[in-house]
């Protein structure tokens, strides 16, 4: 008979942590005999609930996500415009994730802060000011273009400047750094005059736009910041519209272990493929949760795994996951049949009939469930 310690040590290797903890606390006050009985029962039902080899989990996932998603299309009408924060929701966002689009329609970044910066609104706001991109346009009160003299005069809003912690000198420095144009910059009180050294009326407008879009402070690409309170962790964090993970993570106040953006490719690049995988699963889960649909997260992780196993984020479809299939027939069965077959023929690709799709086409047993088993012994 094993001692209780030995038994628990063995269980720790067998069971997932949450289940182990629950079982451990449950048997603490039981007699040895009862404890053993309980452990036996738990193990039995745990092992019987594991996926069997050969189970067609891909189909189960497709069904489990696909069926509730049909509800989503109808319901999204009711939910539209309910939240104040504009965010791609419902089916459009789902398609975005699964297709692994280059950039999401509304790029967002969730910036979490290290304590003490996350403890008060003011502290979070001071970080937010560092992050938000401030252009000349944002602090300008008036812009005058004098076509006769060939000058642009920008009157700055001193209150805006003060609020953002900037000075006229900061603006002058940013403007004079503009490259590619031959400009001279003069400052007078609260206004800045920009003159083209070689007067050209046609260029003046372009220069004006360029000056107004010049970044004075903050991080490139971060257009809007919103400070939010998370009541479960009792902390303040920042949501930004427009993303630049690489730059944000370099700030000292930012918690690098939790900050992420909703751009899959950016996350893959900056945080790695594993982070991208977790993000895919969580984002799909979030989309479905928002619609009040309950789908087990393990289905999302299967999708995320399929999209990321090659080390890159690949869309589900003929340019990504399906193209990676070895079998030409399986690829042809998905989309653009003739082209796929022609190309496979040109390359002289073999067909091994190992997968499900090609086996069905050929009328063979599919390698699923009992179809996976083969006799090794010669009879």
């Amino acid at each position: 008979m094993m001692s209780r310690q030995e038994l628990l040590a063995k269980l720790l290797n067998l069971l997932p942590k949450p289940l182990y903890r629950e079982l451990e606390s449950a048997i603490r006050d039981l007699s040895d005999e009862k404890a053993l009985q309980l452990v036996y029962r738990v193990l039995k039902s745990y092992i019987s609930s594991l996926i069997d080899p050969g189970e067609a989990i891909g189909i189960v996932t497709a069904q489990s996500i696909g069926e509730p998603s049909t509800q989503m299309v109808l319901r999204s009408f009711h939910y539209a415009g309910l939240k104040e924060f504009s965010m791609a929701k419902g089916l459009p966002r789902m398609v975005e994730i699964v297709d692994a689009r280059r950039a999401p329609s509304i790029p967002l970044m969730y910036v979490y802060l290290k304590p003490p910066h996350n403890k008060s609104r003011d502290a979070a706001e001071s970080v937010a000011k560092k992050i938000q991109q401030v252009t000349v346009n944002a602090v300008a009160r008036e812009v005058d273009v004098d076509y006769l003299a060939g000058t642009i005069t920008i009157t700055l809003d001193s209150e805006q400047l003060k609020y953002r912690g900037l000075s006229v000198e900061d603006v002058r420095r940013a403007v004079s750094k503009i490259r590619g144009r031959d400009l001279s910059v003069a400052v007078q009180d609260c206004s800045i005059t920009i003159m083209l050294n070689t007067p050209d009326i046609l260029k003046l407008r372009k220069v004006r736009d360029k000056v107004l879009n010049t970044r004075i402070s903050g991080i490139r690409g971060v257009k809007k910041v919103v400070i939010q309170y998370d009541s479960t962790n009792n902390e303040w964090f920042i949501i930004t519209e427009g993303t630049n993970l690489e730059a944000v993570l370099q700030l000292e106040e930012v918690d690098k272990t939790r900050t992420y953006s909703n751009n899959l490719h950016e996350v893959e690049e900056v945080l790695g493929i594993e982070a991208a995988k977790a993000l895919i699963a969580r984002e799909i889960k979030r989309v479905l949760d928002e619609q009040g649909l309950d789908v087990d997260i393990r289905h999302m992780y299967l999708v995320a795994d399929a999209m990321t196993w090659s080390g890159r984020v690949r869309p589900i479809g003929r340019h990504g996951v399906v193209r990676a299939k070895e079998s030409p027939l399986a690829r042809a069965a998905f989309e653009v049949t003739v082209k796929t077959l022609l190309e496979a023929a040109m390359r002289g690709e073999p067909e091994h009939f190992k997968g499900v799709v090609e086996s069905i086409i050929a009328g063979k047993y599919t390698p699923i469930g009992t179809g996976m088993v083969r006799l090794l012994m010669q009879l």
Binding site: K17, P18, G272, A278, D305
Partner: protein
């Protein structure tokens, strides 16, 4: 255990000898594992080179953590 980035708790390179044993246990060829590119931040963090196998401890909602092995490939 802490956290490196979202979804990742820990990462380490498996020594060659142990990697062989692992592949034998899983009955896999190295390339049948999921891949991770050598340019991936996690690979740099772990100090791995192409051909190494990484042991990645992931956060997982239902089981708290899950171990994922990835083969480091050039790229």
């Amino acid at each position: 255990m802490g956290r490196i980035v979202i979804g990742v708790k820990d990462v380490s390179v498996i020594p060659r000898e142990q990697a062989k044993e692992l592949l034998k246990k899983l009955r896999l060829k190295p390339w049948q594992l999921p891949w991770i590119r050598a340019s991936d931040p996690l690979v740099k963090y772990a100090g791995a080179r192409p051909g190494d196998i990484l042991k990645i401890v992931e956060e997982f909602p239902t089981a708290e953590e899950v171990v994922c092995y990835r083969l480091v490939v050039p790229g």
